[in-house]
């Protein structure tokens, strides 16, 4: 095990990962919780983190990487924005204007889905069904569900983040 000075993951993160070990009969089962913990702290899971997770869980880094890449959820090249907003584009939201809201938000923020604004404040993602079809169209930003979205509400959301909406 590398010493604390050499390690990329902080003691706090490592301890949190280790606290999940008693929950499962196998170390590999902690992979997904570990990826979530790292992602929550760092907003991405770089390769060095994968290597250190593998070390804690006594796996090959490839095993952790294999799981990570299966879920499109984890970013590896650079952190996502301070707020990650998932705009639903599945059926119930799409037929009530969800795709128009997604396009509008991306246009106003000057990014494509999956990208982060230059100031690092916001990442906009498309989501496949957020399970809030009774409030369609909807968006999950951080832990907050934004219900019955329209372009106006999207503009207010961007304003609150300090992202200047373009005049269209």
């Amino acid at each position: 095990m590398a010493t604390a000075q050499e390690r990329f993951l902080s003691d706090e993160i490592v301890d949190e990962i280790k606290s999940y070990i008693p929950r499962y009969p196998s170390l590999q089962a902690v992979t997904l919780p570990a990826l979530h913990i790292v992602n929550r702290h760092l907003r991405y899971v770089p390769m060095q983190a994968v290597i250190e997770i593998a070390e804690i869980l006594e796996l090959a880094p490839a095993q952790v990487q294999d799981t990570l890449t299966f879920y499109g959820f984890f970013k590896q090249d650079k952190p996502h924005g301070q707020v990650r907003a998932w705009v639903c584009r599945s059926m119930s939201c799409a037929i009530r204007g969800g795709e128009a809201v997604l396009d509008h938000m991306c246009h106003q923020a000057g990014i494509h889905p999956g990208e982060t604004t230059a100031d690092g404040k916001l990442t906009v993602e498309y989501a496949e069904c957020l399970g809030a079809c009774d409030f369609a169209p909807c968006m999950l930003a951080g832990d907050d569900l934004h219900k019955n979205l329209d372009k106006n509400k999207a503009d207010i959301f961007l304003d609150d983040l300090g992202i200047k909406a373009k005049k269209s």
């Binding site: 929950r23 499962y24 009969p25 196998s26 590999q28 089962a29 902690v30 992979t31 997904l32 919780p33 990826l35 979530h36 869980l57 095993q63 294999d66 799981t67 299966f70 879920y71 499109g72 959820f73 984890f74 998932w86 584009r89 599945s90 059926m91 119930s92 799409a94 037929i95 009530r96 494509h112 889905p113 999956g114 498309y126 989501a127 496949e128 069904c129 957020l130 399970g131 809030a132 079809c133 009774d134 409030f135 369609a136 999950l140 951080g142 832990d143 569900l145």
Partner: protein, 449 residues
Amino acid sequence: MAEFEPVLLANINRPNSFTRKEYEATGGYQSWKKVLSMDRNDVIDIVKSSNLRGRGGAGFPTGLKWTFLPKDHPGPIYFCLNADESEPGTFNNRILMEQDPHQVLEGLMISSYATRTSTAYIYLRYEYPGCNKRLQDAIDECYAAGYLGDNIQGSGYSLNIYIHQGAAAYICGEETGLIESIEGKRAWPRIKPPFPAIEGVFRKPTVVNNVETVACVKHILDRGADWFKSMGVPADPNNPRDAGSYGPKLYCLSGHVEKPGCYEAPLGLTARQLIEDFGGGCWKGRSVKAVIPGGISMGLLGPDELDCPLDFAGPGKYGCLGLGTAAAVVIDDQTSIVDFLHNSARFFAHESCGQCTPCREGTSWALKMLNRIKAGRGRLKDLDLLAEIGDTIGIIPGTTICGLSDGAAWPIKNAIKKFRGEFEHYIKRTNPDGYMVTDPVPVFETTAH
């Protein structure tokens, strides 16, 4: 039929409905205390005799599933609660877990006791942070009250419940994909047999049940199997394979209706009753063009098929795949069926896990063809090609491991069969010079997300 009183949703509008105090004030955890002194086989017998069928989509009899566990297994046996609700249109589990998490937990505890489980994992999808918090708080309250942990209430029975968070993948709702995901691997569904009851998570016997299913278990133990069987649609006596559709069901209603929401009713409600009596009818005074009966995997009901009963056998009689999650999505007469099918194909192309070639390639081909049709370069021949994809992917034609691609195939098959005229008209209108071409055409690449 007597006036129906909601059971599963009875408490969701009470203030602080998510706290143990409020839950116990309405009789919560009485069954849990009672069950701890009962014989396990008696609990299973009650659930079996209620004819409860799984609420997650497949409708497999729950009691029967439990009896597949090996007798006298030294253990451990695991319980996985499937809370990876990702079928588009479905949100009933979210409401249960967010507004009444103790109801779900009590059902899970009773089910775990009956199946001799010592550890239960709640596989919760990432998109439900609100449920995560409420469930974790509820679990903590149960440990504090001595309802969970070692030697519960002096019965000698020990149970631990953990939440395992998913990471935004639809395939994790498939029971063996879910098991692989808990094990920390990519969520590739397993070839069955062996079924999870014999060899599931960590190679031990495992039960996988849906959130609404275990909530029903709680009420069956509260009120008895006869109460449960007093509601719903009896089995068809001429069909020995029909197990009947009993009990209350949470219907999700969304799309183009005045009042989208989650409504509880006995199984057997028709699509028309759901839309008109509960949903306030199609929005903006428009008329219904199509209804998805139970999440988009199940296909489509046309405007003349709204009297289809939404029970386990009903939608199948109208060419749909089944009841699914009983999540109806209403589509009004101003929505293009081409857009509907494009959205559905894009979803399945995105969510195919990539393990079986027919699904991985078939869903992508369907999406590419629909992209081309939407770009005004469609051909009439494409409809036959789409139908061919629909007929050849899935476990029903026998080409894939899991049912994801049956879900991808059914919207294609239903849309083209029931709305072929609209597709043909669309293609002729948008591609007047090329709609009759039958030679291979170059792949149409789109930059759209």
